[in-house]
């Protein structure tokens, strides 16, 4: 008899981890293309570098831990971490910073805690924050968006593929080009540093860098990531709860502040169209390993992330707050899960489980 005794169920499995991860990678494509469009080849170079480093780190860690290397590489989780890290960092980041960020993310935050499934913190965001507190200048230097009117009005230049590669690998700027001729403040930075200088919102929005809702260029990247996010919901890779809760937790209080004082608080949509809100809500906060798993817990978790994003942006020292908000709530996820267990079938509605 060719049958081995194993436990039911015997039906074919419906999902596979690598397929789930592959869906996430596919969902990143539109947003990535939009970023490449506005910020140049550096985005793709970062992605390639981060992916290479991440897979190498993962393989090294598995080797050191005496475990099979191929399944760990093959589950594509390290690749997802690398890609999320790469779209979060500036497109001109020196290669060794990417290396440091990835080593911290994969080796320290993921593998030292036991590898896939055991890390309490989102590796990509932990790597990002590690770099942000270590190299604040490099991590907040963004290129100006590739929009002809802006470039002409400010006498800015864009980087070719070779220029980008040289900058990333050697730190050399293109001849006769200074940093000032390429970079521009990010909309979030612009908004909150000017607010700190007591400028009013209408004054800030008068700048030609501003578009309808956020900075020009920036304001539409989120939409492309949103497309990927909706794809993931459609494919059942994520549920709607965390992204919707993040957006609600951010927008509802932001809307209330704006109604109270529109001079000092930006229109709520600004929070979506500037910075990494959409990327964070759909791709970062929904990382299953570190997020809440109960339905009610996911709503609480997401809403808290939204609130923390708002609080850090307005009153914190860092321009974008998604990574901090996610990491802070990662700590709280197990507790939230414990207190939001669903009512088990056949148990009374009020009964404490």
């Amino acid at each position: 008899m060719p049958t081995a005794i194993v436990s039911s169920p015997f039906a074919g499995r419906l999902n596979r981890t690598d397929q789930v991860m592959l869906q996430v990678i596919l969902a990143l494509i539109p947003g990535t293309l939009a970023m490449v469009w506005y910020f140049g080849w550096g985005v793709l170079i970062n992605m390639a570098l981060a992916s290479f480093f991440a897979l190498a780190c993962e393989a090294l860690a598995m080797k050191l831990r005496g475990r099979p290397v191929l399944p760990a590489i093959g589950d594509l989780s390290a690749l997802v971490t690398a890609l999320l890290f790469a779209v979060a960092v500036p497109p001109t980041l020196p290669w060794w910073m990417t290396l440091i960020g990835i080593v911290f993310a994969i080796i320290v935050v993921k593998q030292l805690y036991g590898g896939l499934g055991y890390n309490p913190f989102n590796p990509a965001m932990a790597g990002y924050v590690f770099l942000l507190v270590s190299y604040p200048l490099a991590m907040t230097t963004w290129l100006a968006p590739n929009i002809p009117e802006i470039l002409e009005a400010h006498h800015l230049v864009t980087l070719s593929f070779l220029d980008s590669a040289r900058l990333i690998f050697t730190g050399a700027l293109p001849p006769h080009v200074a940093w000032d001729a390429m970079s521009a403040a990010t909309p979030l930075d612009e908004m909150f540093s000017k607010l700190d200088q007591n400028a009013t919102i209408p004054e800030i929005l008068a700048s030609p860098l501003w578009g309808e809702y956020g900075g020009r260029g920036w304001e539409w990247i989120g939409n492309w990531f949103l497309l990927g996010g909706l794809y993931m919901i459609w494919r059942g890779v994520i549920t709607w709860r965390i992204p919707v809760a993040v957006l609600a937790g951010l927008l509802i209080p932001a809307g209330m502040f704006w109604l109270v004082d529109p001079q000092a608080f930006p229109f709520p949509a600004f929070h979506i169209f500037a910075g990494g809100t959409i990327l964070g809500a759909f791709f970062i906060a929904t990382d299953p390993v570190t997020a809440c798993t109960t339905p009610r817990g996911q709503l609480v978790y997401g809403a808290a992330i939204g609130l923390i994003i708002l609080a850090i942006r307005h009153w914190g020292g860092y321009p974008d707050a998604v990574a901090f908000a996610v990491l802070l709530m990662n700590i709280a996820a197990p507790t939230i899960d414990y207190y939001t267990q669903p009512r088990v079938f056949g148990h009374g509605r009020r009964e404490k489980t």
Binding site: T3, P9, N15
Partner: protein
């Protein structure tokens, strides 16, 4: 949870949480009408085909038995009778492998069949509306158990506890496991029998509604039942309901939820909310017993899977080895990967073709590698939550897994492990291919084992304490008796007045004869002389002097003992 749908004239249905849409694979086996499996040369009839105690054999090796003859008597309330499924000779009563996930053996009666298939004398048919007690007795006699796979004795289920009013009877024709089609075929081929049984139980329990539920992937079965209900007369209270196809809607508690919106309390039984569920095959067997006087000696078995040449449904006598059935279904394919008893979601693998069909065996499933691919090694849980989404009981399977792995038995209870129905939904959707159900079974066993240990320890403690208490009580009684006796003695003979000479006990004559006694007398004399000398010198008495008479007596008695010892020692010393 909202109702599933509510169309005009349609019964309102509810949903349960989670569940899965699985490929049903029923078309593989449900195309041909029921046929009978031929009798094998040898029947292996286990004495335990039900939950509860095994039946007691009432035949001996060498006896000739007839078809339908009682061969095993029920032992206890949850036991069921066993009958011979054909005529022949009992050739052995011995341990044989039986269908069980563990591959265990159990006592079986082996019958070598003659080809006569001669019936024993059967009881007369009951009337269409039999006396409830007579019907229950008939069901008990026929050894009818739940044929959905649980094998719970039906007579027990149909005898509600005092004070419980059953309002709804649910007949379960959902058959939600993929591949299995034995109920489908029964509903299509013998709908009248099912309805006859339904009426019997409706009247027996006096219910307000009898709901026959069938998943809507079996339209022919639904149609057959509806037609039979129309043409067959008495349809009062009987309703045939198509329910949406969603695994595991055939679970008793899930089905009750779908049909009534009610939830059976955790650890409770449907009767607590006024509901009794029976599988439709059980109901047909009850009708067989009532109207044909036929005990439960056969059942319908689905033989299916792409690992079998000709998948089909057969009416199989209880006790036929599955090897014979596989021949009837075209043999095993060389591409066979797994042979299962039951469905792919909740069945168990078997690797012994000599196990017999029992009352609980509803399906023999031969799967090829395409149908049951090797899930590969389990990967780490990424807490994706797919398991929680699929769980029909709203458990958190990933948390249960985590704590089961850590053998944290308090935590698994905290997370309601014992509400898990082991339906397998979580494991099928797990992207990391973790055998979740296996962990839950393990944890349940661990919990039960620990409970058992605790009970035993508690029992031992109680026994010990009882023993201590008993000894203490005996001691107290003894003391009390002694006291009573003493008091009684004291009443009769008052103690001697103080100062009475104890030495008087030693008669001078005896002293003269016994050197030991002489020594004692001498010692006493010395003591008296010493005392007198002290007194004469006017010295204050020591604390051993001037004693109360009782103490004086004690001291003297001690002196006596000492001198006795001294004398004995002297006597023992070798003489120089």
């Amino acid at each position: 949870m909202p109702p599933y749908r509510l169309g005009a004239g349609q019964r309102q249905l509810w949903t349960f949480p989670g569940g899965l849409h699985l490929p049903d694979e029923k078309a593989l086996s449900n195309h041909a009408p029921l046929a009978s499996a031929p009798l094998p040369r040898r029947l292996i009839i286990p004495l335990r085909q039900h939950i509860g105690a095994p039946a007691k054999p009432v035949v001996a090796v060498g006896d000739r038995v007839l078809k339908g003859q009682l061969i095993g008597e029920a032992q206890g309330r949850l036991s069921a009778t066993i009958h011979a499924s054909s005529s022949g000779t009992v050739i052995a009563i011995e341990e044989r492998p039986v269908p069980h996930a563990s591959g265990m053996s159990a006592p079986c009666i082996l019958i070598e069949t003659d080809d006569e298939d001669a019936w024993a004398e059967l009881p007369p048919p009951l009337s269409a509306r039999p006396d409830p007690e007579a019907l229950r007795e008939r069901i008990r006699w026929a050894g009818i158990v739940g044929l959905g796979g649980a094998a719970f004795p039906s007579s027990v289920k149909l005898t509600p506890a005092p004070g419980i009013r059953v309002r709804t009877l649910i007949l379960n024709g959902a058959e939600c496991e993929p591949y299995i089609s034995c109920d489908d075929r029964l509903m299509r081929d013998r709908p009248e029998r099912i309805l006859q049984g339904a009426r019997l139980l409706r009247d027996l329990l006096g219910v307000e509604a009898c709901l026959i539920a069938v998943e809507d992937n079996k339209p022919e079965a639904i149609l057959a039942l509806r037609q039979a209900l129309v043409t067959d007369g008495d349809a009062a209270g009987i309703e045939i309901i198509a329910i949406p196809t969603l695994y595991p809607s055939g679970g008793e508690k899930q089905l009750i939820r779908i049909l009534t919106g009610q939830e059976v309390p955790s650890r409770g039984i449907p009767a607590q909310i006024g509901i009794v569920c029976q599988n439709i095959a059980t109901v047909a067997a009850i009708a067989d017993a009532a109207f044909d006087g036929k005990p439960l000696i056969s059942r319908i078995v689905t033989l299916t899977g792409r690992g079998l040449g000709q998948p089909r449904n057969l009416e199989v006598p209880i006790g036929v080895p599955i090897r014979e059935l596989i021949e009837q279904a075209g043999g095993l394919s060389p591409r066979l990967r797994r042979l299962l008893i039951g469905g792919p979601m909740m069945g168990f693998a078997c690797d012994d073709l000599d196990i017999p069909v029992t009352k609980a065996v509803n399906c023999l499933l031969a799967l090829t590698p395409d149908e049951a691919p090797d899930p590969g090694p389990a990967l780490a849980c990424i807490r994706c939550g797919a398991c929680a989404e699929a769980c029909p009981v709203s458990l958190l399977p990933q948390q249960l897994y985590w704590h089961a792995r850590a053998r944290d038995l308090d935590k698994v209870r905290d997370y309601n492990l014992f509400d898990c129905i082991e339906c397998g939904c979580c494991a099928v959707v797990c992207p990391s291919h973790i055998p979740l159900v296996q962990y839950y079974r393990f944890a349940k066993n661990e919990c039960l084992a620990r409970d058992q240990e605790k009970r035993q320890a508690e029992h031992a403690r109680q026994r010990h304490e009882a023993k201590e208490a008993r000894l203490e009580r005996l001691e107290q009684e003894r003391k009390a008796n002694l006291r009573k006796k003493k008091e009684g003695l004291a009443d009769k003979a008052p103690p001697p007045p103080p100062g009475a000479p104890v030495v008087g006990a030693l008669a001078p004559a005896a002293v003269a004869e016994d050197p030991k006694k002489a020594a004692i007398a001498a010692a006493l004399k010395r003591a008296a002389e010493k005392k007198a000398a002290l007194a004469s010198q006017g010295l204050a008495p020591k604390n051993t002097e001037n004693l109360a008479p009782a103490q004086q007596r004690q001291v003297e008695a001690a002196e006596v003992r000492r001198s006795e010892l001294q004398a004995a020692e002297d006597a023992a010393r070798p003489r120089e």
